[in-house]
């Protein structure tokens, strides 16, 4: 039995991460020697034009993609060294996703949509109902619990996606252009919900966007261009949470 104590306030740490696509002449470097750290509980915007590598960066941090070089340390663990089964487990338990085009299952009910991450994470059936209700409550969709997702408006669909992202109480939420498909009023409502949840629950929120207004609402902005970090701005330099975190890992 090994007991590992990890002490620190950084949740995400990238060290010289490089990701390339293609071979030889067609070689394309999507991420070029990227390094930064994100404190626990922060809200971070990854800014950049399309093709700049911001989506690849998000994929690398969430374990969807595997950069060839470097380290992606999440919560003290280099996820690039995990086996695919462990990465799937990592995503199921620690990550929530929100996409630009919602990706809610139109033919399924609101409840079944939110239930999916719980089923994947093997959450017992008894506690599912309570978690689903709590998640829908916090996005103000509880009265739609039995409706089919296809009958929801665009804003409601994205709120449903938010509920699906937070239902299993993840450590990190990745939101890829969360308001890209919404008008400004409904977009603002979704933004408020995301930031509200981030502040209230101390969940790290990483928003991928090309919208400077949305980026300005975040604690930290990471500008990316041609696969390289252009600048990192820490608008609210003080960490939002208690400065130190103690992880006690028990490996058997």
């Amino acid at each position: 039995m090994v007991v590992i104590l990890t002490v620190g306030d950084d949740l995400i740490e990238l060290k010289q991460v490089t990701k390339t696509y293609g071979k030889k002449q067609n070689l394309f470097t999507a991420l070029d020697n990227v390094s930064f750290t994100i404190p626990d509980g922060a809200s971070v915007a990854i800014l950049g034009k399309s093709g700049s590598g911001k989506s690849t960066l998000m994929h690398a941090m969430s374990g969807l993609d595997r950069p060839e070089a470097g380290e992606v340390i999440i919560d003290g663990e280099n996820i690039l060294q995990l086996k695919s089964k462990q990465i799937d487990k990592f995503r199921a338990h620690k990550i929530g996703f929100i996409f630009q085009s919602f990706f809610v299952q139109a033919n399924e009910t609101v409840s079944d949509n939110v239930s999916l991450p719980l089923e994947i994470a093997d959450v017992s059936r008894g506690s599912r109902k309570r978690k689903i209700k709590a998640a829908l409550e916090s996005v103000d969709l509880l009265e739609k619990i039995g409706n089919k997702a296809k009958n929801l408006s665009g804003g409601q669909k994205q709120r449903l996606a938010v509920a699906r992202a937070i239902v299993n109480e993840p450590q990190i939420i990745f939101a890829d252009e969360p308001t890209g498909n919404l008008d400004s009023v409904t977009g603002a409502k979704v933004e408020d919900m995301l930031f509200g949840y981030n502040k209230k629950n101390g969940v790290t929120l990483i928003v991928v966007t090309h919208d400077p207004d949305l980026a300005a609402k975040c604690d930290m902005q990471i500008n990316i261009k041609d696969g390289k970090i252009e600048s990192i701005r820490d608008t609210k330099s003080a960490p939002k949470k208690k400065p130190t975190r103690t992880h006690i890992k028990v490996e058997v």
Partner: protein, 453 residues
């Protein structure tokens, strides 16, 4: 992911594509329908054959003959046959016959309780009361070890003989006689005219008779002896499939058949020679063992089991053909499932991508698609078997009537266990068919899948 959740999700995806699911299932249902019917027909036929054999034939009885061709399929073929000593004519056939000495040998065989020769009576002609025509027919003894079905009148229970003045007429004869209702023949008289061939006198005998009684005496000697025998119709036996006994002869009691046969053959080569005898094995003896012993003596024998085997061979062959068609239908439906599932994977690329992004294992995604295929197989199996069951059960009385199988006998017998196994097999076939589409789904890259918009 839990299996129950996967199954529920699989069922839900199918429900969302009702028409497609149903149509794909129907392809399997065609196969299931055919297979269920063939299983039911096979079971029905086997039960029916067994019923006939056990209720009509003494399981300890063996038919013993010297000539193999009595049992062979081309027994009815005439044509040129080599002459052999000690042969007897039967139904236009010349068959090697058993002598009295051989009969004694059979009797002495271990395990045999008694032996009953088959007596043949060759009447010159036969007359039926109510018809002024004359007929010819084979006349043989009533076989008490085989029970025929009656169209009119009653037959004695298995093992009992009919009375000496009684006769059993097969239903097939009625048309020739000119009688429609079998009951009309019961109690009527049947008269045989038997002509005993005159012995060929030697020259000394001819001289002696001419010396004693003159030419008239010689004429009387060579004229032969004529006898008329009258019987009362007890039963008209049915020409149904159930009737395994030769239904093309008139049956009289064993005693009378013996008397008449010996009366006709006395002084000829055929005297006390038999083409076949029925041997009854002791209750303690295995008829198959007795058969072996008889075959060692150069005889051929057929047991009740052989007869059953013969019937089963035919049933199994027919069933095999129908099953073949069912399997062909299934193979066609397998391609249907593969096609449908591939389309389903394409349509749901985003959904698969999302599930994988949320941490669902590739093997769980594959499982989801395999369960969908399983649902399709299950649905098809239930629909096909259900329709076959319903249709078969409602048509059974009609089929029984058309094939005159007799009351209470059904051609199609549906048993829950084989049908359940069939549905299980179909589920398996569907899962195997869904293997490649499921693998494709499992291997989808979530990043690529979620880029599709």
């Amino acid at each position: 992911m839990r299996i129950t959740d996967t199954i529920r999700r699989a069922g839900r995806s199918l429900k969302n594509a009702k028409a497609r699911t149903l149509l794909t299932s129907l392809a399997i249902a065609v196969g299931a329908f055919t297979l269920t019917l063939s299983l039911a027909a096979g079971e029905g036929s086997r039960q029916y054959a067994e019923k006939i054999i056990t209720s009509n034939i003494d399981p300890q009885a063996l038919i013993v003959a010297k000539d193999k061709s009595l049992f062979s399929a081309d027994a009815g073929a005439g044509g040129l046959k080599e002459y052999s000593e000690g042969a007897t004519q039967y139904a236009g056939l010349t068959l090697k016959s058993l002598s009295q000495a051989e009969l004694e040998k059979i009797k002495a065989t271990k395990g045999i309780e008694r032996v009953q020769p088959t007596y043949l009576v060759k009447a010159q002609y036969v007359e039926f009361e109510g018809s002024d025509k004359k007929f010819t027919s084979d006349i043989t003894m009533y076989d008490s070890s085989v029970r025929a079905e009656s169209a009119a009148g009653r037959l004695p229970p298995l093992g009992e003989q009919i009375k000496d003045d009684e006769i059993v007429v097969p239903q097939g004869f009625l048309k020739t006689i000119g009688i429609k209702n079998p009951a009309d023949l019961i109690g009527k008289k049947v008269t045989f005219t038997l002509v005993k061939p005159a012995p060929t006198p030697s020259e000394a005998e001819i001289n002696e008779i001419i010396a004693r009684e003159g030419v008239a005496g010689l004429a009387k000697l060579t004229q032969g002896e004529t006898s008329k025998e009258t019987f009362i119709v007890r039963t008209v036996s049915k020409d149904s499939v159930t009737s395994l006994s030769a239904s093309s002869a008139l049956f009289i009691s064993e005693q009378r058949a013996k008397e008449l046969s010996e009366f006709l053959t006395k002084g000829t080569n055929d005297y006390q020679r038999y083409i076949a005898v029925t041997a009854i094995a002791k209750d303690s003896a295995d008829p198959e063992k007795v058969k072996e012993a008889l075959v060692k003596q150069g005889l051929t024998a057929r047991t009740a089991k052989d007869l059953q085997g013969l019937l089963f061979t035919i049933v199994n062959l027919l069933q095999g053909i129908v099953i073949g068609f069912g399997v062909l239908a299934l193979i066609a439906s397998v391609f249907g499932i593969i096609n449908t599932q591939y389309i389903s994977v394409l349509e749901r690329t985003q959904q698969i991508g999302l599930m994988k992004a949320l941490g669902m294992r590739g093997k769980d995604v594959a499982k989801l698609f395999r369960y969908e295929a399983a649902w399709i197989g299950f649905l098809g199996g239930v629909i096909g078997s259900g329709i076959a069951w319903g249709l078969g059960t409602s048509l059974n009385p009609w089929i029984t009537k058309q094939l005159s199988l007799g009351d209470g006998n059904y051609l199609l017998i549906f048993q829950p266990l084989p049908i359940a196994l069939l549905i299980l097999a179909l589920v398996l076939v569907a899962v195997i068919a869904g293997y490649f589409p499921a693998r494709k789904a499992a291997k989808l890259d979530p990043i690529e899948a979620l880029r599709t918009e």
